[in-house]
Amino acid sequence: MKLAYWMYSGPAHIGTLRIATSFQNVHAIMHAPLGDDYFNVMRSMLERERNFTAVTTSVVDRHVLAQGSQEKVINQITRKDKEENPDLIILTPTCTSSILQEDLQNFVDRASLESNADVILADVNHYRVNEFQAADRTLEQIVRFYLEKKKRSNLIENKKTENPSVNIIGFFTLGFHHQHDCRELKKLLKDLNIDINLIIPEGTNVKELPNLTKAWFNIVPYREVGYMTALYLEKEWNMPFINITPIGLIETTRFIEKIQSILVKLNYDINVKNYIKNQISCLEQVLWFSKLHTRDSSILNSTEQTAVIFGDTTHSLLMSKIFVREMGIKVLWSGSFCKYDSSWFVEQIQNFVETLLITEEHAKVANAIAKSEPKAVFGTQMERHTGKRLGLPCGVISAPIHIQNYPLGFRPFMGYEGLKQITDLVYNSFLLGPNSSNLFESFGNNLLYLDSTNQILNDTVIELVNWSESAKEELLKYPGFAREKIKSFIEKFATKQKIDLITLDLFYIAIEKI
């Protein structure tokens, strides 16, 4: 057992559901007790999804405990097949129901005989893999399922598209700025005159998956999800892939150059040099910012900018690289909660950052932040709150995230536009941080003056009416943020009625009038 307050990554079935619901016309069925369908709430709230989330539950209750699911799961599958007419139904257990060790594969096999949809069982162990790993696996499983099917039916038509084209693997629902990154990446590829064959899983119909092999190569933009699929496609279908994340100027350049080298290998002539040069010239302002900042740090009234970084492997790694190589900010330490992938993370980051923190415990992260006293923190929502507590500014660079991290405005992290966004995020964080409060302090705090006038106003009101002990106590029962408002309302009410003592009764008479 483990005492846990907060988790950076969710349980396995969340990963499976995120993949399933990203595809079009795929329905996921959870074998789970009542209340485990919280995924639907998250998707509906965070992504402000307009359609019903295609996830339902085959409810595990006392009867199932006593006698097994029997026909229940099969009925649920065939019912959804009729009602929603999906192309694919994915059955997934949750942590709880996987202990029951029911033969779900058998249910799936039987149900697929009766339903028009394809039916598969998500192949994930709920006690060994987390959300990201499960998502990675499920995506690979679905792709494999459709490509093997195609192989069997001898419809292999391994013809490539005429113009160079790519598959992008790994954009999906509830990802950190995925929609924006996706749009930016599409634009970048369009500029390079490369067609997009398929983007999976987001928005793609599973029926199109057999077309994956038509692309010339694959792109895996994030480390966490898509890698397994790319490996499969490389091994079985001889498709090269790029797993460089185009976040930051240097990495975006490397990404584009890698595209060139792959295409050249495939005998297609392309020269990206001018494109990169043009793009960089459009980024003058960003580079100027960076230069200004590193050269003349006195502008911010501080000697050296220091930061700590924590997040998933992709974002933690890339932000660290940007800070060190492109912005001249000292990274005191970087860390990731993707423990399962720590060797890769360490290998990638060791030349940039000396101290690393790999943990799933938020308290350890918080302690490390407190100890190292950075000027700013870049992390998940949890680090934002730690920062708040310690009086440090924080930029959110990685999931887990709240609704405000699903902005409507265009906010990519990838590509050239992403670089502008990151620059804003970083400088605003530093500017709003201790630097600005230092300025406040050194020029005398105007807020103090405002506070004292407020106090005077309050005092004058208090003099007019008295509060009985019980009414005073009652007031304290209301939450702090509302108390002042309630107090002044009741006092005004009492004054109007020409009553000079607020009793408990009067308190509630007044409350009812609010």
Partner: protein, 461 residues
Amino acid sequence: MAVLEEKQLVFECETGNYHTFCPISCVAWLYQKIEDSFFLVIGTKTCGYFLQNSMGVMIFAEPRYAMAELEEGDVSAQLNDYEELKRLCLQIKQDRNPSVIVWIGTCTTEIIKMDLEGMAPKLEMEIGIPIVVARANGLDYAFTQGEDTVLSAMAQRCPNKKIEQPKTIDSFGTHLFSKLSELELNLTGFRSKQEKKHPPLILFGSLPENIISQLSLELEHQGIDVSGWLPSKRYMDLPVITEGSYVCGVHPFLSRTATTLMRKRKCKLIGAPFPIGPDGTREWIERICQACEIQPSGLEEREAEIWQGLQDYLPLVSKKSVFFMGDNLLEISLARFLIRCGMIVQEVGIPYLDKRYQAAELDLLQRTCLQMNVPIPKIVEKPDNYNQIKRIQELEPDLVITGMAHANPLEALGINTKWSVEFTFSQIHGFTNAKDILELVTRPLRRKENFQSFGWKKMVK
């Protein structure tokens, strides 16, 4: 709209395929209510993920709750449950020093048959902190029923006699002055009890402190003395429950607690509608008065006065139709109040209905429908959300009260929704808060009026 001609209550039961919160969510409000408690949820990552996300920003306020996250070794019994729990509870004792640790059993502890009830007394002796066990799992319960399992476990921990207070003034010694006011309070309390002569009355159900004062004050005006609340603000102050005490519930979802109080503590349950809406509150007080053999006074005027205060809202809801998809067991009381406000209720979905515990509420619902001359809505237990959405599309209600999983998609279909969970976390009890219920209900209706001029209705293909 299909016209319902029912004069009798009609109950239906569907497949139970509906969306609701897991009952472990009760820790979110109970740890805040019981200030010296610590809630330990013994479950898996799935439980933790749910709590973390559903509690929103509360999770960052160092809540007095934690997960005992079961790992593979726990599930396959390679680790010793007792030793593991002891280790965690000692850590909690060291870090937080609570007066009680509440173990929340989950689906997983049920399936692997972890004997929490058996381990708790032993561990309690060993570490010196009371351990209360509540099995609030999704196999058996929905959302608010979680509180029911906790309170029913706590009901058995309430003392059955008062801890002796020092009797003579001498024993106050030098603290005499500081204790004077307290003594005075005790004396007045004593006097009023002497006057009233009704058996002790304990109210059960977790409410914010200010609502507790409001409801206590209403009863005090009738000359009724509330001798305690279950739960109390602190675990150390759980009310004394003696045999023959009167008990009355404030929430519709506390049927287990009621049963425990009746069977195990030999209390007499006052059957009453719940104090939600001025109509419910009035009858709730009346029933308590009746049981205490006190003639209620001034209630009619009080209720009328509250209705008067609601005048601005009533035209907004009058003749509007509402559909409860059902997820928190408050549905019957809310439907009854909204019918009294002039709304037409098309369906009352509800996870679970205890017809005995809710008898008075059901009776009031029926009477309200007759008085308002509207058809009695169909009550659907264990609803099927898919079927409900089909019915909603057919009936086109003015308002659907539903969970967040369906709210946005329904809005996109041009159907007004109100998120049902808000009723659980808002202050809706008593005369004073009737306005808040209507504030919640009318918000989407008012917003619709604001947006109508844009010509947006359906936002999906």
